[in-house]
């Protein structure tokens, strides 16, 4: 019964928190640009509006399936990502599983975009996958380092290990260099400037989203909520000690995303090759140093 | 009909006699001469086969010329090894009797001389006689080498003559040194004296000279420069016999020298060195060559090198390996030359030839696989025996030789299967297809069949060869059989 509650609650919580994260991101951006920014319910309006479109143009069954894979993948990811009070199925799949489950929606999106037969979309996916390769290399180093440091890949255990001694045992304290590299990789993962060449609205017409309309676009908006949430929570879980309760937990998640969003607005956009070069040079280099420290210890 | 030791002379005497008669008969009728020559060859084969049971009973048949026993008399020694090669020679000569356009009474005469000389080489138990038969063989070969009546043929033959003549001189010098040291030329006698008189620089010098001398015919490394020229320029059937059989006869002589006279590690090492270099040189040169005749000629050099390596391994394991390699090569190489006969010229020009004559191409693949040493074909077992012998004997030289042979095998496969690839390529349009007539291909097919039969019956064959090798490698037995009263 608890499990059933977990199964239902975890994605819902993720969605709601995700909406707030999206709102925060847009508000922060507005503030930096000296604007007022959107109203509180703007993320909801957008999603409802998109779902409420009266015509919904599809480019074939794969386009539809992609949307299902997109949502399904993230819902699954949320269920395997433990949060305070809700462990879900985290003991049946570990950090590695989670990382790969998070790729399922990516693959789904890629397939759906491909079946739209729009080269802008394909170029976008090509760039998105390249960017994924770029930021996942440091991220993988970080994950491996963290797992070796904790001696387990079980997320519940990772959280417990960090909570033993307060902030002193947080990953960010025990392996600060890895945590910093992880933050850089996380930023790339969010696809914010300067790593948003795959969206590039003026060049490739928002790439993967080119042919997305109505509820297809709506699903992408939902995905954005999930993505912000997942990335934030995962980082919090790995390095910021998770949270004993939501009161301590959520601020950490918001902080992680906030850092990223706050930094984003001062950047232009890197070319794809520069994304790779940067990601493979700095975050990877830093992460390898962190890894070396972990191994030496 | 049972034959006894006295008949051992027949394989030598009969063709020699007929060879002298043949020009006379040829005056009457070419056809009759040819018939006579071939009947003689057949007879030699039959005689050798009939001698076989007697030889296997007693280990060997020994015949002393004119009743003078060894060491004074001239001895013929027919063990199974020798008889086998006599049969092989006779059968080879029959199988590859000259094509009509190259045929004449003269050629038939040379053919018979070759038979007589070759049989004498393996049967003779006396060093000087061996030299005489070696010369007869050589002379016959010069003539046959030029029997295509082409400029290239004469040139190659002349070149061969020069080399061979020098080689004979060396061999003679070596024999003289042996005589000087031991005072006898009877092999059995020498084998008993070798331990004390043929060691040291004198013996080694004699050995080196003889190896270089006989090595000309045995295609041993430094003195085999005639091989590619002659094998390319001579009529292919002559080449088939020379490469397939005659070279082995010289090798058997070297084997006898080794087993009976020079069990010195230095001598063995010398042969190992020559053999190993021969393998590498032959395969590499074959890799470079661009027409089939040359390729096979070089490959033949490498195979003879393999034999030299085998014989250089002391004990009967090496002898066994050497005989196995020899027999295998004896079957495979003539068949290769049968194919080369039709597929002349640049290899690159053979594109698609395999599709017009699938049987020939199939035969080529079979022979290639065997010569590379792919199980379960006989070539594999031969190489396995060689390697086993080398490894069991140990020593850096042997191991290096094994490594060289293994590497050379890859090169061998490279050039042979390069040809296979070309054979099965798509022929350019408009070129007349190269087709074999069944008659042309028949000897090759026959040898291919022998190969397959050998594959199937490799176990009994192996047992037979082991016994033969053990016998051949036994110097004491040789001596005891030849010398009256034994020792």
């Amino acid at each position: 019964m608890t499990l059933l509650a977990d199964l239902i609650l975890m994605p819902l919580v993720a969605f709601v928190v995700g909406l707030l994260l999206v709102l925060m991101a847009r508000r922060v951006r507005a503030k930096i640009e000296r604007r007022v920014g959107p109203p509180f319910l703007q993320p909801v309006y957008d999603i409802v509006k998109l779902y409420a479109k009266k015509t919904q143009v599809s480019h074939g069954v794969m386009h539809d399936l992609a949307i299902m894979m997109l949502l399904g993948g993230f819902i699954t990811a949320e269920i395997f990502l433990p949060v305070p009070g809700l462990d879900g199925l985290a003991e049946h799949g570990d950090l590695i599983t989670l990382v790969y489950i998070m790729m399922v929606p990516m693959l789904g999106l890629a397939l759906g975009v491909g079946s739209c037969a729009n080269p802008n979309g394909s170029i976008g996916i090509s760039r998105a996958l390249t960017a994924m390769l770029a930021y996942d290399v440091p991220y993988v180093v970080v994950i491996v380092g963290a797992c070796i440091s904790y001696g387990t890949t079980n997320l519940i255990d990772i959280v417990q290990i960090q909570q033993q001694g307060g902030p002193a045992t947080w990953g960010a304290a025990t392996m600060p260099i890895l945590a910093f590299a992880g933050l850089l990789a996380t930023h790339g993962m969010l696809g914010k400037e300067p790593f948003e060449i795959y969206i590039a609205p003026a060049e490739i017409a928002t790439g993967p989203m080119t042919e997305m309309s109505g509820k297809y676009m709506g699903a992408l908006f939902v995905m954005q909520c999930f993505q912000l949430y997942t990335v934030g929570v995962l980082y919090t879980t790995m390095f910021l000690g998770g949270g004993e309760n939501w009161l301590f937990f959520l601020p950490k998640v918001f902080a992680v995303i906030f850092i990223s969003v706050a930094v984003t607005n001062v950047y232009g956009r890197y070319k794809t090759d520069d994304v790779i070069r940067w990601m493979w040079k700095w975050p990877t280099g830093i992460a390898l140093v962190g890894l070396a420290l972990v191994m030496v210890r | 009909m049972t034959l006894t030791a006295h008949h051992v002379v027949l394989p030598v005497a009969l063709p020699l006699l007929v060879a002298f008669l043949l020009p006379l008969v040829g005056r009457l009728s070419d056809g009759l001469a040819r018939l006579l020559a071939q009947l003689t060859t057949l007879a030699v084969a039959v005689i050798a086969l009939l001698l076989w049971p007697a030889a296997s009973d007693g280990g060997a048949l020994v015949s002393a010329m004119g009743g003078f026993a060894a060491p004074i008399g001239i001895v013929f020694y027919a063990d199974k090894l020798a008889l086998m090669f006599v049969v092989a020679l006779a059968v080879g000569l029959l199988l590859f009797r000259p094509r009509r356009e190259h045929d004449s009474t003269k050629v038939q005469t040379l053919w018979l001389l070759l038979l007589a000389g070759g049989s004498g080489l393996v049967l003779s138990g006396d060093l000087f006689n061996i030299f005489v038969f070696y010369e007869i063989t050589a002379v016959a070969t010069y003539g046959l080498g030029a029997s295509a009546h082409t400029g290239a043929g004469y040139g190659a033959s002349l070149r061969y003559l020069l080399l061979s003549a020098l080689g004979s001189a060396f061999a003679l010098l070596g024999i003289a040194l042996v005589y000087a040291a031991a005072g006898t030329l009877n092999l059995a006698d020498l084998s008993q004296l070798a331990g004390e008189r043929l060691t040291g620089p004198m013996g080694l010098t004699a050995f080196v000279l003889m190896v270089l001398g006989f090595g000309v015919k045995a295609e041993l490394f430094p003195v085999n420069t005639w091989v590619p020229e002659v094998y390319t320029a001579a009529p292919t059937r002559v080449t088939a016999v020379l490469a397939g059989v005659v070279s082995k006869l010289a090798m058997v002589v070297i084997l006898r020298l080794l087993v009976l006279l020079f069990q010195d590690p230095a001598a063995l090492g010398f042969l190992l060195l020559l053999g190993a270099i021969g393998v590498a040189a032959g395969e590499l040169a074959a890799f470079r060559s661009r027409d089939l005749h040359r390729t096979f000629a070089y490959s033949s050099i490498a195979q003879l090198g393999l034999m030299a390596v085998a014989f250089s391994i002391p004990g009967h394991a090496g002898v066994l390996a050497g005989i196995a390699v020899a027999l295998h090569h004896l079957v495979v190489k003539p068949a290769f030359f049968v194919l080369a006969d039709r597929w002349r010229g640049e290899i690159a020009g053979l594109t698609g030839a395999g599709r017009t004559s699938p049987l020939a191409a199939g035969l080529f693949v079979l022979l290639s696989l065997s010569i590379i040493g792919i199980p379960p074909l006989p070539g594999f077992w031969a190489k396995l025996m060689l390697f086993k012998a080398a490894i069991d004997a140990g020593g850096a030289g042997n191991l290096t030789a094994v490594a060289i042979i293994l590497a050379a095998t890859v090169i061998e496969a490279a050039y042979l299967f390069r040809v296979v690839g070309i054979l099965y390529g798509t022929a350019p349009a408009g070129r007349p297809p190269l087709r074999f007539t069944l008659g042309e291909l028949a000897p090759g097919l026959l040898l291919g069949a022998v190969l397959i039969a050998a594959t199937v019956s490799v176990a009994p064959l192996g047992d037979g060869l082991t016994a033969m090798a053990a016998d051949s490698a036994d110097a004491a037995a040789y001596a005891s059989r030849v010398l009256p009263g034994g020792n």
Partner: protein
């Protein structure tokens, strides 16, 4: 066996008989109208026998001997199959069954020489049976040569570029075989025989140098077949140009024979303990570390070469090389988890790679090309093939819910648990490259714009789609319930002498993080169901439009406009890593060829010496000088 066999036959005898009969029968009747189905039947029978053998082994039969015995030149040759061999045998007969099924219908009918394809396939199975059940080193070598040449026969039949590729393969394979020959000779020298037991008994007395030699020769010889870098160049073209089902067979199992032999020689015969004792002096680097790094490089480099391919077959076969690295790496971890992961990956790889290759050949069958720049949009024309390919690439990329994820998870996990961070990073990085590459594959073939010339294309016939769908289905089922496949792996692991990995139907329970695929896949499927529910319930009905109703900045699209992104699919990546492809292995290979040519030239020159008498005199003088030296003139 569940039933009694006549003439005291063992099940291995029966299998050999079936395989031999299949070879002959199919070579004779493979082209006949029902020849293809005869083939399927025969291979099906072989598969059934294999499964029955598995039941016997699971019941504790130990090993299944063959009555076939030969004594050649004093060498005893005997064949017997243990759990390890059986595991690979199952893959072999399974792959042959699916391959022949694929060939049975329309595919076989349009082939020029179906007879040869069927015949060589059966021949390959026969030779693999002989290899897998080899009872001693000599038998192993003979089986090895058989397998190599049978594969060569399979590869060369297509002609054209296949000839060159097969020739290259043959040279590599033969070089490998010669290394193996050398290895067994070394063993013979030390142990006095070719028997496995003799070798084991002689091991303790072997010097370190000899062990290193053996290790290098075995790893090198068998590594060639697995296409371990730097001996990998042959594999992709050789497998790619082999026609259809044969290519799938080769991809699925042929290279795995190398792995089998490596396991046999290094793990079963030499053993992890001995290998671990083999260290480079002063560094502490173990022999297995070297091999593990070779495996890691094999995992990464060929994967990124695959990424740059424009031919679907080449792309997949290059990945095949990379996947081999995962298997080897897993086994070299030498913990039960790692070994099970490596072996499981062998099984999983066979299922998805076959499905992928078969799907690609179905596309070739219909469109006549595998050029990734010449296809696109086939999803509407060939949906079933698409499904098979999709499931295949998910497996190849190692994502849930397919089985490829499970085995890769075990390998990552084993590497992390044994604290080998760099190797685990290499494993992850290989997977990332695979994801990019397989997306390009499926995108360029099935997604994007459909070409006008492919408008009339029909789905591949059932005889072709069914095998690949079944294979993809196996991939899904063993991803959902990896315990099924792990039970099969147990047989091999037990025979290897490695402790078994405790597992349940859904995966493994470990103290350091467990995996239960029943939950993962169950939730994933359920969540996708929820996604579907959201999709269908919320929002208006979908309206399916056509590919020319598409955003093009206001431009009007029509069929004469190619509106498709396929060529150089990852330009940004290519700009970064493109210069890293130095092709040094290619240049090394070329250099070897040049070396052979030049030394050939040299010797060729020697044999054309012009002044023969002078030459011979020089030779004689040298010989005499040597004789003097060796004979001791000086002393």
């Amino acid at each position: 066996m569940p039933f009694a066999l006549p003439f005291d036959m063992t099940s291995l005898d029966l299998l050999m008989a079936i395989a031999a009969a299949a070879t002959v029968l199919l070579y004779l009747f493979g082209t006949a109208r029902l020849g293809g189905y005869l083939a399927t039947l025969l291979h099906g029978a072989a598969l059934a026998v294999t499964v029955a053998m598995g039941l016997d082994l699971a019941a504790g039969a130990g090993a299944i001997p063959s009555s076939l015995r030969l004594t050649v030149l004093g060498q005893q040759l005997a064949w017997t199959l243990d759990g390890l061999g059986w595991f690979f045998l199952l893959l072999t007969t399974g792959a042959a069954f699916f391959s022949s099924w694929y060939m049975a219908g329309e595919w076989g009918r349009v082939q020029q020489r179906a007879r040869i394809q069927h015949g060589t396939l059966a021949l390959n199975v026969l030779t693999m049976v002989l290899l897998l059940s080899a009872g001693d080193l000599l038998g192993l070598f003979i089986g090895w040569e058989f397998v190599s040449w049978a594969a060569f026969a399979m590869m060369i039949q297509a002609g054209g570029p296949a000839t060159q590729a097969a020739y290259r393969y043959m040279l590599y394979a033969l070089a490998g075989a010669m290394a193996l020959f050398a290895a067994i000779l070394v063993v013979h020298g030390a142990a006095g025989g070719f028997g496995f037991d003799q070798m084991r008994a002689a091991l303790p007395d072997m010097s370190t140098g000899m062990l290193w030699t053996l290790f290098a020769l075995f790893a090198g010889g068998f590594g060639v077949k697995m296409a371990l870098v730097p001996t990998h160049l042959w594999q992709a073209p050789a497998y790619s140009y082999t026609p259809g089902a044969s290519s799938a067979f080769l991809n699925a199992v042929s290279a795995r024979m190398g792995l089998f032999a490596l396991i046999l020689s290094l793990v079963k015969l030499i053993g992890f303990d001995t290998l671990a004792g083999l260290r480079i002096p002063m560094t502490g680097i173990e022999s297995t570390d070297i091999l593990a790094w070779v495996a890691a490089i094999t995992m990464v480099v060929p994967t990124y070469i695959a990424l740059m391919q424009t031919d679907a077959r080449m792309l997949l076969t290059w990945h095949g090389i990379g996947q081999g690295g995962y298997m080897l790496l897993g086994i070299l971890v030498a913990t039960p988890l790692g070994v099970a992961g490596g072996l499981l990956h062998v099984f999983n790889y066979a299922t998805y790679q076959m499905a992928l290759i078969l799907a690609v050949f179905a596309v070739i069958h219909r469109t006549g090309t595998a050029d990734l720049d010449e296809l696109g949009g086939l999803i509407t024309r060939m949906p079933l093939t698409y499904v098979a390919l999709l499931m295949g690439i998910i497996g190849l990329a190692g994502l849930p819910p397919m089985n490829g994820f499970v085995s890769k998870w075990m390998i990552y996990k084993a590497l992390i648990v044994t604290q080998q961070p760099l190797l685990s990073i290499a494993a992850f990085v290989g997977t990332l490259g695979t994801i990019l590459s397989v997306y390009k594959l499926i995108h360029n073939i099935f997604l994007g714009q459909l070409r006008v010339e492919h408008r009339e294309i029909r789905e591949a016939p059932w005889s072709m789609t069914l095998p690949m769908l079944v294979l993809a289905g196996i991939g899904f089922v063993t991803g959902f319930a990896p315990g099924l496949a792990l039970s099969i792996v147990d047989q091999a692991q037990a025979a290897m002498g490695v402790a078994l990995l405790p597992h349940h139907l859904g995966g493994v329970v470990l103290a350091t993080g467990s995996l239960n695929m029943l939950w993962v896949v169950g939730v994933l499927v359920g969540a996708i169901g929820v996604g579907a529910l959201i999709f269908y319930v919320l929002g208006n009905r979908r309206f399916e439009t056509h590919q020319y109703d598409n955003y093009a900045g206001g431009h009007f699209l029509s069929a004469d406009i190619r509106y498709h992104f396929s060529h150089e699919f990852y330009p940004g990546l290519a700009r970064v890593i493109g210069p890293w492809y130095r092709g040094w292995v290619v240049r090394m290979e070329h250099g070897l060829g040049v070396l052979a040519e030049v030394s050939g030239d040299l010797w060729h020159g020697v044999f054309r010496a012009a002044y023969t008498p002078l030459y011979v005199l020089i030779v004689a003088v040298l010989g005499l000088f040597w004789a003097g030296g060796a004979g001791g003139f000086g002393s």
